[in-house]
Amino acid sequence: MRPFRRTGDRLDAELEGAEARLIVNLAAQLITLLRDRSGDADEAHSVDSEGLDVFARLEQRGPRSISVDPVLARLLPDAYRDDEQASAEFRRLTEPGLIDRKVAQLRTVVADLTSIETVTEEDAEDLPVDLDEAGALSWLRAFTDLRLALASRLGIESETPRGPEEPDEDTVGLLAVYDWLGLVQESLVAALQAEPLSS
C-alpha cells in the first residue's frame, strides 16, 4: 500500500490486489449486516464473501432491539441517552436513511475497487486508487464504519489492552487488519486537509 496523497483536487493511493479484496470482502459483510437489520437481505448474495466471516460471528437475526448486536449498536447509536422512548421514535424516523447512506458509502468503495481491478492488468501488483473529494468522503465514512465494526467484534474498548489477552490466530489477523485500515484512513484524512477545504 502506498498511502493517500493529494494532487490538486484528487486523492490517490495504491493498494495491492489482496488488500483491495480484503476491503471488498469486509465491506460486503458489513453491507449484509446492515441490510439484514433493515429487513432487506437481497444484498447478502450480490457480492461473494470469502475467508473469515467476521461480522457473522454473532447472531444477526432475531429481536429488533439494537442492543442485540454490538456492531449495530455502535453504528446506529441511540440519540437520547436518558430517554428510551425518544430514542425509539428518533430511530424509527432516521434509521432507515442512516442505514441506506452507510450501505451506499460501502458500495461506493466496493464499486471503486472492483472497477479498478477490472481495468488493471491481472499481474499488476498495485491497484491505483484515484478519488475526488466526494469519493474520498465516502471512503472516509466507510472506513470509519468498518473500523468501528471490527473493533466491536474484537472487543476493543480502550487503547490498551486491546481485545482478548490470549488472542487466537483469527483475532491476531483481524487486529492487524484493524490497524492497517486505520493507517489508510489516517493518510486519507491528512491528504484531504493538505489544502484548504473547499467548502
Partner: protein, 117 residues
C-alpha cells in the same frame, strides 16, 4: 480515540445502559451555558469519546461539518478525548437532532440532551 483506558472503560457502557449518562447532564449543561444564552439554545449536541475514531478524523469532521477553524475543531476534539465527552453545539431541538444524525453518518458517537434539564 482513547489513550486513557481507565476513563474509557467508564465511558463505554452501551447507550442507554445504567451509568451511561452518569454526571454528564450537569457538566454538559454548564458547558453549554457558557457557550450560549439559554432560551434560544435549549438543546445540546454531545459527542462522546470512543477508542476507535482517529483524533485527526474527529477534528476533520468538526471542521468540515460545523465549518470550524482548525484550532477550534482541534480544541473540541481534545475536549472529547480528555473529558470523555463535549458539548459541540447548542440550539433548537430540530437542529440538534439533525446534527446527531449527521454525526452518526460520520460514525461519531453523539447524542442530544436538554440544556435546562
Amino acid at each position: 480515540m482513547g489513550l486513557m483506558p481507565s476513563s474509557a472503560s467508564t465511558l463505554l457502557p452501551a447507550p442507554g445502559a445504567p451509568g451511561a449518562t452518569g454526571a454528564a447532564p450537569e457538566t454538559a449543561q454548564q458547558e453549554a451555558t457558557q457557550l450560549r444564552e439559554l432560551p434560544d439554545h435549549p438543546w445540546a449536541l454531545v459527542v462522546w469519546d470512543d477508542p476507535v475514531n482517529l483524533m485527526s478524523y474527529v477534528s476533520y469532521v468538526f471542521r468540515s461539518y460545523f465549518g470550524l477553524e482548525q484550532a477550534e475543531a482541534h480544541r473540541l476534539m481534545l475536549l472529547v478525548h480528555e473529558e470523555g465527552r463535549a458539548v459541540v453545539a447548542t440550539g433548537s431541538h430540530e437542529e440538534m437532532e439533525r446534527h446527531v444524525e449527521a454525526m452518526h453518518d460520520f460514525g461519531l458517537w453523539a447524542s442530544l440532551q436538554k440544556v435546562g434539564g
